[in-house]
Symmetry: C2
Subunit: 377 residues, 2 copies
């Protein structure tokens, strides 16, 4: 099943921008953190081409915030994060995978340090709130943990910066990558980060009053014409090219950060302790058995893969295809595979047994998909 | 937005029965616990009429199990459950709301005691697994907690019992309501409970090997003709008539069990301790400010309500409509409201300001919807 009709209910939450997203013609949705997320407007390839040239406005309210506040907030943040937050600075964002005690990934949020005693973890698709709250209760920590009324709105694409300057002023240019600053809007101060789930550059506005959703959307929309602003959303083609992994697709509760290639974010050799450290050291010592890699596939243009498909060498299953799609700029089908370590190297040849036909695949590093998609432009 | 096209991805998990559900013509879906759940086949009213007369087969794999096993399993189960499980018997099911320390509902699962040291919590739509795992880690309890490969298949409707006897034998009749027994199937022993998310009677089969999904479905389907067996799913009309509440729709993280009318399941006066007890006693002492009630509404036939709609008295908002639909057997629009306590009584008259028009409503007890839907048959 590649698409289906979904019936609305209150259980699937609307966002502060949902009316605008619908008015502007979202043609496909998914459900993410119990909330609607648009996945397509004009079409995957059309949205992709536009994103790489102009500016887009994305409702990414589904990036819910787990807010940790109080005397033990920093201690708890350091404990749950596989990324070292010991010296995390106020005003910075950190990609911070969260593991259980077995080193398995529970979520891969971006952590924002708002104050010495206050963090937001901007989450992927699992109820991380419950893990953090359960843990803090069990440990009797002095923290208050909640999901605040915060709904990020992203402006992405090469023209995003100029558009943001028109709305919020020249100081937007001072925000460095993965940093955030507060800007005034309608009597509030909104945190704006240079970040977002594309490789095209852009910003995420952390609106902390849902009643202002349409006002914020419209304020940006009105300034959009010179930048060919269109509504958009995280784009499957662009994010595969960019090596951006999706929790639930390319990794899940079965995987550790080492298998996903996240070792660079996790210093296992420092003195600091965090949940999952022992298990990850043990896995590193033994050696990982499988690893996430990029793949290029021949044959006809592939559409999105709804279920993991087998990757085979000499009639033996050696892995699964986790995401895939045809990339116009790359000029081939590209995707990610979770593959046995002996085949997890650049140039390894495999066969992908897909519902869309059996085809040849060549393995590569995740990061190399990006460079080739640029070259061929 | 009442319906939308949803694009498939691996993040939205298929179930062991998904191929059959699609083949048999599911015409609407939702996403529940990161998994596909059909919400309609022939149409809401048609599915409803059939469910109340014959037998239906439902893929309710979305009822994921949180398995708690080990020396501290019983202790942990008693700690998290607002329902008293102190004397829980092996082979019994218990509706067991789970609260945080503030008495707010995290999930409202059915707990099955499988052994002295083993429980399944069959969950509603939130990642309860993470709460229980975080808590157990924080408390350093000696338990193993996981989501096992268990995918319930429900047979519901007045003819469900005879059909189940044809498949599993006469001993099916010995299972009492909210009890379960193990039955052989394909070399395994499957737990079968007399339970299910309808008021029509029926069973839930806890298949614990996903690779047998189609085999189990087909084994039941083949015996179905005498019982007019059709594929089905939890039905909005029938569950509102039946007073079955939906987590995320009729209650959420903002509510306590006392506000939802669940006080009968929670003995606050016993010595036992559980998470949320103090907060619930405090709320009881002060008195609840709002309560979930039934409602009957006049006017044209209502379709499902995607967002909470205002309930008003003398131009003042006094509550929200959480679920609503037209019921053919009741002969009116019926639903649930979360309403200020001064209006939470039988016969109170309110106005519902719905996207489907403003209409008059009369408040009633949740349980009284059921009796009237029977009377008018």
């Amino acid at each position: 099943m590649s698409r289906a009709t979904i019936l609305a209910s209150r259980r699937l939450r609307a966002t502060p921008y949902s009316t605008r997203v619908a008015q502007m013609g979202a043609s496909g949705y998914t459900v993410y953190n119990h909330m609607w997320l648009a996945t397509m407007f004009g079409g995957l390839a059309q949205d992709y081409a536009h994103l790489k040239k102009y500016a887009q406005i994305w409702d990414v309210s589904v990036e819910r915030q787990v807010q940790i506040k109080g005397p033990d907030a920093h201690k708890l943040a350091c404990m749950i994060s596989a990324r070292d937050l010991t010296n995390a600075k106020v005003g910075r964002c950190y990609y911070a995978p969260i593991c259980d005690q077995h080193g398995k990934i529970i979520n891969d949020p971006v952590a924002l340090r708002l104050a010495d005693d206050k963090y937001w973890f901007s989450i992927a698709d699992s109820d991380l709130l419950l893990w953090v709250q359960g843990l803090a209760l069990g440990l009797n920590l002095d923290v208050d943990i909640c999901e605040p009324d915060v709904s990020p709105l992203a402006i992405q694409g090469p023209m995003a910066e100029d558009l943001m300057v028109d709305v919020f002023g020249e100081e937007i240019r001072d925000i460095k990558f993965f940093q955030f600053k507060a800007f005034p809007f309608e009597g509030r101060m909104l945190n704006i980060a240079r970040s977002g789930w594309s490789k095209q550059g852009g910003f995420e506005i952390y609106l902390d009053d849902g009643s202002l959703g349409e006002v914020l959307w419209d304020a940006i929309w009105e300034k959009g014409e010179p930048y060919y602003l269109r509504p958009g959303c995280p784009n499957l083609i662009e994010r595969i090219e960019g090596g951006l992994l999706s929790y639930g697709n390319d990794m899940n509760r079965e995987n550790t950060p080492l298998e996903i290639g996240l070792e660079k974010f996790i210093n296992l050799d420092s003195d600091r302790d965090f949940i999952g450290k022992e298990a990850l050291i043990a896995q590193r010592d033994v050696g990982i058995k499988k690893r996430l890699m990029g793949i290029e596939m021949d044959g006809e243009e592939m559409t999105p893969v709804p279920e993991p498909e087998d990757v085979v060498v000499d009639d033996v299953k050696v892995g699964i295809l986790t995401s895939a799609v045809f990339s116009p700029d790359y000029g081939a089908n590209i995707g990610f595979v979770m593959i046995a370590i002996e085949h997890a190297h650049d140039g390894a040849v495999v066969e992908v047994q897909s519902a869309q036909g059996t085809r040849k695949g060549v393995i590569c590093e995740v990061s190399s998909l990006w460079s080739r998609a640029q070259t061929s432009e």
